[in-house]
Subunit: 307 residues, 2 copies
């Protein structure tokens, strides 16, 4: 087992979907990543920042899940990052209604001394320079995974490229892969992005699954077709948490194990969307995960005699 | 091995994609289905109609592939069905520029006497009543597969529902499944469509793969991510030809074998899009198919120890 360092937002979200509407609830990339990774009983730490308005019981909940929160800065006189969004009827697109950076504006991540030797680092979506500052604090990690989004490609592309050059894995969605590479075909996009630095490129296609590219190989994990998707918020982060949590648990960085890691990521993401916010992930059991892994297996596994 | 009866259009297509433009070339659902199914060296017959303008060498080519063409009516004074379309830059959508029904307007399919006992019947996209007339001519087939499209849902829904009630498998794309069922989730859509008659529902998602539903089970075959998609015309029919060709070859109608059949369908469709029209399918070799089946396997197969 390896240690896992997670950096990202810990936030309040207000979400509206065709199924309902929430007031300010617990959200943020690092929250979803942490909740997902904690399913593997690993030694993980969250590095983030919240305001004095952040509830004590949410901090306790994350600690109960086994997350070390020494690196969670609490700015007593500040307010927690807030995001509000509304999903369209197809659940595939959303409008951002509000973004209040608050304490995130001056966030300066500090990795706890005892986690600087972590082998796996998950850089959740944040300004590329904040992500870079975490890389700089680490002692020779084995596997640095970067998540990012089109927003940073639009306003901080040069900074983003510097971080991309330093990581082992990048996870982005299909449209972002096209924007970053300038190529429409995902096969070509992945090749171009690999030339920017990462050995592995993970392209998330939402309900259409995820692809991982490595040298001339590729592997595909489907998303589980679901009768109802209740709230897609955090699915990508939950995927990343499952991916890095499994890598930290197994400490095996072979491509064969990466395949299993993205299956676990897809499996955990399929739970996340079943309820609003983090609710499903907070109450998930090992038995439920096990049953769903069987469903994933029967969804894609087959026997064909090949010569 | 079982016999396979294929009904559908044999046509001229004029295609424009971002990569180029063709004059009138060989096309049509039955053509693509037949070329794909013929990869399995089965005993297959095409039931269709062409005009006096249809080239002899195209007929010979299909016969050389092993297709029986007794059921291909040639209306000497008529003109062959013509379709012309232009694909958008993303290759996922297209505009129809021209549709000239010609001999198709009075098409009355006649299944050759020696193929009325075929176990597998592939009803390519045509007016539902034409498809029904083929079912009526068959002696107790084991597996009747129906392909259709939104056009018939718009103008002949009641006729379509009558045919759907009589078939074992329906293949439609995701948007059509939503239209036919009124459900957005493909899991729910498949359930509703199964209640209309078919035991198996195959939902084609183009570059995002295909799903097959049976009772409470589902199986997913990815599309092979390709560096270049040259011309998507006929990919769905090639998929259907691979699916039914494999079923006819194996004469095994278990769900386990259906899974293999949609993998073969996806595999063959991945070739179809690599060149304009039927070119790639006409020149495909067994060795190429074998190599690609290995690629499909490594794309989705993994080992996880499950309890």
């Amino acid at each position: 087992m390896s240690k896992l360092v997670i950096v990202g937002t810990v936030a309040f979200d207000a979400i509206e979907t065709p199924f309902g509407k929430t007031d300010k609830i617990l959200g943020g990339a690092a929250t979803y990543i942490g909740l997902s990774a904690s399913q593997f009983d690993i030694d993980g730490a969250i590095v983030s920042v919240v305001g004095g308005d952040f509830p004590k019981n949410d901090i306790e909940m994350l600690e109960d899940k086994g997350m070390n929160l020494e690196g969670l800065e609490i700015v007593k006189q500040g307010k927690t990052f807030f995001w509000s969004g509304k999903y369209h009827n197809d659940m595939n697109s959303r409008d951002t209604l509000a973004t209040e950076l608050n304490v995130l504006e001056t966030f300066n991540p500090v990795v706890p001394q005892t986690y600087k030797d972590a082998e796996v680092v998950m850089l959740g979506n944040l300004h590329p320079m904040v992500q870079m500052s975490v890389i700089d604090q680490m002692n020779n990690p084995k596997m640095v995974v970067l998540d990012t989004m089109d927003f940073w490609m639009d306003i901080a592309l040069e900074d983003l490229k510097k971080v991309i050059a330093k990581v082992d894995v990048i996870t982005i969605n299909d449209e972002e892969a096209r924007q970053l590479s300038g190529a429409y075909s995902l096969v070509n996009a992945a090749k171009i992005i690999m030339e920017m630095g990462p050995k592995y490129v993970v392209i998330k296609k939402g309900e259409h699954g995820a692809l991982i590219f490595y040298k001339n190989e590729m592997f595909f994990a489907p998303a589980l077709p679901l009768a109802e998707v209740f709230d897609p918020t955090g699915a990508g982060d939950t995927f990343a948490g499952g991916f890095t949590g499994y890598l930290a648990k197994t400490a095996d960085y072979s491509f064969e194990n990466m395949k299993r890691a993205i299956i676990y990521g897809s499996c955990l993401a399929s739970f996340c969307v079943e309820k609003f916010g983090t609710e499903r992930m907070q109450n998930l059991t090992k038995q439920e995960i096990d049953i769903r892994l069987h469903q994933f297996k029967s969804l894609t596994q087959y026997e064909i005699d090949l010569s």
